[in-house]
Symmetry: D2
């Protein structure tokens, strides 16, 4: 393996989310995963196992208040002892009863203030944890035409984002996530990258767009959005996952590995751009997993997710960019396309085994995980937590 490739691959970083190690489900049911982590400490233990086996996943994103602790210094130490760092802070402004009609866009000012206060609290958590990124997702939107005024909600969103933005320390970033739908079914306030981008432009330099792979309408070309935002210097990060239908939140790279490769290709092109802004932007992108492992074992699923990103990145690095540029310049449609495909068709598994040996890792992380005793141990120690999930569980029969 050449040195550049080794260097690039060993420098790759994928952040895993604390909530990906706990139980989650659909509105119909949350199935209980044996040994699923029950609190942030156990989640860090799981993340450490993923990092131990991959070497490229030291960061762990927190979700507040799910991961709230009294002493973030202690949490940071606990993480550091396991080779981990605290990543993005993710506020939760969608689970209080007050947020039924929105958080920062709620028609009621008191609710908006409550939401903003929580976001500002999360900025404080960032300071305590040394997190660079505040990652914002809003469930805000409406279900029926006329339910609320769309432009008023836009104004409220902008004002709220602006206040939080201005309270953020230098060197930090606000990542603004958008989503086509769910849980709002008529209009989502941050409905696409254009809306998020427009707000970012208006509120300030720290604001950047976050792309969640599952939050687009059918057919939308995500790698083109990535290229566009890189070029504008406004791509801040990703929530990686896979989808075929809605926001399916499956393991990244499982439903359409070619799309993931094309996205990584744009990131590699951007990181090698002659344009300073594009290059710097590409180099600072935060790569984060955000999935919902409903039926598969949590830690193994996360491990697989990180590995799928690694394979996609490796393939993207193998694209012969000079040859590609030449074919593109000549308008040789099929030759240019084949340069991409040649990289995609390459089996990078031997290369990545080589990389792992260089990094003092087990060359076969999945096998190593399954052969190791981690899953059995946590199942034994933590048990299986049932309960929860969308639709009502059986109610008591009236006596």
């Amino acid at each position: 393996m050449n040195a550049d490739l080794l260097q690039a691959l060993s420098a790759q970083r994928i952040e895993t989310p604390s909530w990906g190690y706990g139980n989650s489900g659909t509105r119909f049911k949350t199935f209980a995963a044996p040994g699923a982590a029950r609190d942030i400490w156990e989640k860090l233990d799981d993340a450490a196992e993923v990092q131990r086996l991959t070497g490229i996943a030291p960061g762990v994103a927190l979700h507040i208040p799910w991961d709230e602790v009294e002493d973030y210094g202690e949490l940071g130490k606990y993480a550091a002892q396991r080779g981990l760092t605290i990543g993005a802070i993710n506020p939760n402004v969608f689970q209080d009863e007050e947020y039924k009609l929105g958080s920062v866009t709620n028609p009621d000012e008191a609710v908006r203030e409550r939401a903003i206060a929580h976001l500002l609290d999360c900025v404080e958590v960032m300071k305590k944890t040394g997190s660079r990124d505040l990652s914002l997702w809003f469930a805000d939107g409406t279900n029926y035409a006329g339910q609320d005024d769309l432009r008023s909600r836009k104004h409220r969103m902008r004002a709220g984002l602006k206040r939080v933005h201005d309270a953020m320390p230098d060197g930090t970033r606000m990542l603004v996530e958008y989503k086509l739908f769910e849980p709002a079914f008529y209009a989502t306030d941050l409905f696409d990258w254009g809306a998020a981008y427009s707000h970012c432009l208006a509120i300030g330099e720290k604001a950047q767009v976050l792309v969640d792979l599952g939050h687009h309408a059918q057919g939308v070309n995500i790698e083109q959005i990535v290229a566009f935002l890189l070029d504008e210097g406004r791509l801040g990060g990703f929530h990686f996952n896979a989808r075929r239908y809605g926001d399916d939140d499956l393991i990244v790279g499982t439903s359409n590995p070619f799309e993931l490769f094309c996205i990584y290709a744009e990131l590699v092109f951007g990181a090698n751009s002659v344009d300073d802004l594009t290059r710097r932007t590409a180099q600072n992108v935060a790569y984060m997993i955000d999935q919902s492992h409903n039926i598969e074992p949590k830690v193994e699923a996360m491990l697989q997710s990180v590995l799928n990103c690694q394979e996609a990145y490796a393939k993207a690095l193998l694209i012969d960019r000079d040859l590609l540029k030449e074919a593109q310049g000549q308008g040789d449609v099929l030759a240019a396309h084949r340069v991409m495909m040649d990289a995609f068709k390459t089996d990078v598994r031997p290369l990545l085994m080589e990389l792992r040996v260089e990094m003092d890792l087990n060359p076969e992380p999945i096998q190593a995980y399954r052969a190791g005793g981690y899953q059995a141990k946590v199942t034994r120690d933590r048990g299986t937590q049932t309960g929860g999930g969308g639709y009502p569980v059986k109610e008591k029969v009236r006596s």
Copy 2:
């Protein structure tokens, strides 16, 4: 109002679902609705209020085990006293831990048997309640390519349906519902009307297809499926709701009222067909609401749903079918289209007020409901039940 129209409109029947009166939500959160019904008895009380105000919604669908009671005789009596009847029985084979990889299509035979046993239990409930319809929805499917064998799952589905079908009493029907996705995100075992229809053909005469308006891919022409199934004698019923994106489960008729009108138009055309099978099929269609009122008051939402169906049906009845046929026969594209649009553009609210007066109902059901004390009473009596919903609620901080 002419007598035929009055007759048709007063004979319309819309069945409301017991679960529509209780709390429900998205995977992110179930917001607590003040006064939401807590058990089947309270749900019947709510349904009675809807029936009292509309006069066309006496039937109530049950969900087993949510609505399980010890004495169905008592339940039937309670319903009858309120002018209600027990409608379709809806089994639940998606909320037990065993169903993580499917119910009747599970790779494990023991799980399949458990699911079938529950379905057969529901057939017993039908006998006790005098229900005509067993309404089957399966969450069964897979999330990843290769997870299970698609043809094997098809065989298991067919075998399971067949066993239940053959246990059903004469004069009853099995309604087989399909769905594009959710909670399965790679492949849903009953993935479209074609799959449901094929199974119905194979298992027997009692099996018919149930169309849920929210279970189709984008762009799919639902009224055409309705027309096709009517013509084949295999349309059994509807789950009415509205959607723009996924299975949004909004109030029927709110996101695209013209689509609802077109669906009713096919039903009116079918009910007036010269073809015996089509006409008989159309006359026996079960019209059922199946929605998830996440942010709006439950009873008012259900009332609105029934009224929206009434308006759509009234407009469909107003289509000048002779004129339509004539324009169609002449290939006069725009004239034919305008016959449809003329009916759709008609404001049927005065007509329906007239109908209600004829039926001894308040002409303005929504106003009457809001002016009445029902919502205040149930809020006071039942309180507000919090808790539940998709994603994990805040966990305890480790001490």
Copy 3:
């Protein structure tokens, strides 16, 4: 009818496109419409008939070079004599052989220059015709991953738009249209409103976004984009049509009349906004039809299109905005929604007949058109032009 309503409705303007009066089709076939206009003079005759019957459609958009004439002064005079004005100028940079790989984004600089030269020529046509709007649609894009560099194409697009923008006279506007796909099937250079908006921001004050109703991904909420762009002062105009699937280009308002109503509602809200920028923007929106009447008679289809816009606008004007605002402020989801629906349910046909009487028009334009001899006359005078359409026509058999 109150004076405000009369004033608003009689001031409504819908621009019809010259190309909508000629033959058009799908890639499979262009069916010959009897009497379809053969040149710009006949197209103006047809447009005059639509204006004569509706009174709100005096503007006619030109397509260059399809409508190129030697003497635009003569053309203007011909139009004026028929009560018409020349509307937006629409360049064509997609039908020369050189544009196979793009026009302003073509990898070949010479092709880009050719395209820009044509756009600049069209600016000259604007000066000659007194047109306010240059309406730009590009077929530019790629069909295969890797075919061309996405960021380079973005740069070329921006540079080209900028040069044309800067050559435009004061008081004119550049309307930048976007489209999800077709004829590009991997990536379209102006792929959504966000891309168009970003370019508009970068190139200058005259640039505004044009929304074609058929150019979005499934599920996308167009009225929200309208509201967003109005609020940003960057909504320039519409291409009206209707779709269910792709860019179907059907008669506006036929596939989902409620969506058209919701769009008009945002325009009415915007035109009544307290915000100066929003209000001014809303008042200057250009409303243009852009459709492909493949199977229906051209003039009648255009007439119907204008009338459908009129009905949607009338309904939007009937929304009780005070009541709506009040319900929204109270978070009364269903009451607010019903305010919208009450307007939508109103049958505005009597009102519009009254309006036409006030405007000295026949109250029933469709009936008047069909009863009149126009279609018969043009069919007789112009004949039926066959030929054209997508897929190859029958080739000669080798002798």
Copy 4:
């Protein structure tokens, strides 16, 4: 390479379409490809070049009347001399002016008879050419709600198919293709696989469903339809191509190679099924390309298409079916999925080079083609045919 694999790969057959060698385009423009074939004889020459380089594409589908000749015996001889065979016969009932409102579903009986007569003529062509398959695609449908009666059109479709079916010789098959939309934009008469399947069941044993990869709604799982139809014994063939948006008709395997692999996986599973009907059905599937090469060189595009199918098939053959079955049986979601992915990740290019050497072919067909003089020769001999395409070309300026 093991003998089974070699045997399977060398037995693979991909039929290329005559129309894929001529010019084609979108409704906006048909760009002229240098050297594009001008008649069926030249198309056979091109197909022979593809067969010469791949060894797995001897069959050529004909389109009538585009490929109509006086002496089909001569045509067959011409083909045979080039190592080719005549494949499926494709009637054209969408380009005559009479078909504006449909062919076999037209409201006018005379038009229906004309269409059926053409289909019966094509059965005669089958007899002359020895073709096994009659491949039916209909543009039939409606653009506006109410335009025609949906059930009447269904009856006409069934009656027409039945008459043709019953006229077909023993041992031949009718392949019934469906499509979501285009050129019909409200309702397409054969709108999905369920509709096609229902007709096939009704009309007889020779009728089977044809799956065109570009004819589905977004999200639809095509491999599941394939599995379902195989299991029912009603999968007759494919029209291969690739799409992201509508019916994009790109080179198969270019937009989502994983989907193509999953489809081939079901075909391999079916061909190895213990069930006789499924196995026999899978073994008789007709694999046909149906694409529109708008911007890329025709012959090279077809060559690439065949090779992409070869790679997908090779990967599908490499799936460890025993291991897969074992993991599926254990409900080991991720292990089962990885068995699929392991095959997909394998770089099969070396294997296929080996295969070609065994088959006495150049191991690198694309390189060989580009290095050879074929494209230069046909460009020189045939020239570049311009003209045609959707929207009107520039009209004459009035003098």
